[in-house]
């Protein structure tokens, strides 16, 4: 029972901080933080690092996908090749890449870079599992 009551109060506080006006949050931070300069410096570092990590993760996905697609094209595996063709057909600016055999890793990266990489990777993994 005690946990149930605590949960409700905690839910309410969670929602409060999630939804409260910016000004209310700023006021509460002003009260709690003793060295605002130091806090802002740390905040900037976190944002910088988060962006860098996100970009790194994105690049890792891109490279992993490009490798998988390139391998699939070389081995002429039906589903990945179909996915790649579909991506090229759906975008006029990618018309140059009609000849799949001649695609380099960089070309594939160019084709897939703006797509949902996680989804593409899952589609390829599903294909791997079914073979």
């Amino acid at each position: 029972m005690s946990n149930e009551i605590k949960n409700k109060i905690n839910d309410a506080l969670f929602n409060f901080y999630l939804e409260a006006d910016k000004d209310i949050i700023k006021d509460s931070l002003k009260r709690d933080i003793q060295n605002l300069d130091e806090y802002n410096k740390k905040k900037k570092q976190i944002i910088f690092l988060a962006n860098a990590k996100a970009k790194q993760k994105h690049n890792e996905y891109l490279l992993a996908l490009a490798n998988k697609f390139q391998e699939a094209v070389l081995q002429n595996i039906e589903k990945p090749v179909a996915i790649l063709k579909q991506l090229i057909q759906g975008n006029a600016s990618l018309a140059l890449y009609r000849n799949l055999d001649k695609l380099s890793k960089e070309d594939i990266i160019e084709i897939i870079k703006d797509k949902n990489l996680v989804e593409l990777l899952e589609q390829l993994d599903d294909n791997d599992k079914s073979h």
Binding site: M1, S2, L18, E19, L29
Partner: protein, 174 residues
Amino acid sequence: MNLTEAIQSIDFDEVIDRMNAYAFSQLKSVGVKTFNGKEPIDFVGEVILKVMEGQRDWSKANCSFTEFLFGCLRSEISNFFKTNKNIYDNELPEISTTDQSFSVEPIRNSISEILKLEGADDEELTVFEYWADGITKPSEIAKDLGISVKEVYNITKRLKRRLPKIQTQVKNII
């Protein structure tokens, strides 16, 4: 939406402020100022990096990125208090999976009484009643009461300040 897009979709600076304020409030609820010597902003930073490194998987989330980050923070804080249970005997609860209201009316009434004795006004008691009924979103409370969300924030602010004061008494009755 990948992580880079997710970051761009929010005001990251502001979300970190929110997360930090939440972390502070959780620390206050157990009467300490740091996570074993770690400032809340450092704790928040570690949670964000866990998300960016994929230890907490955003790709499978079914909510906004801000809600996801907040959920991760809540879970990490809960884990921290669980791991350090010997230090913080009043550890924070796990993420609630139930939407049932308090089932034992006397306990609920006793907490209301304690709040009243500690000076809570009718508005605070009303908001507490909503929480007890499982309605915890300020926007929902505001809509139901026919007042602005800002008013609910202000009432919650007062109520929130009162909660640490009643903690010991509440612990004695539950």
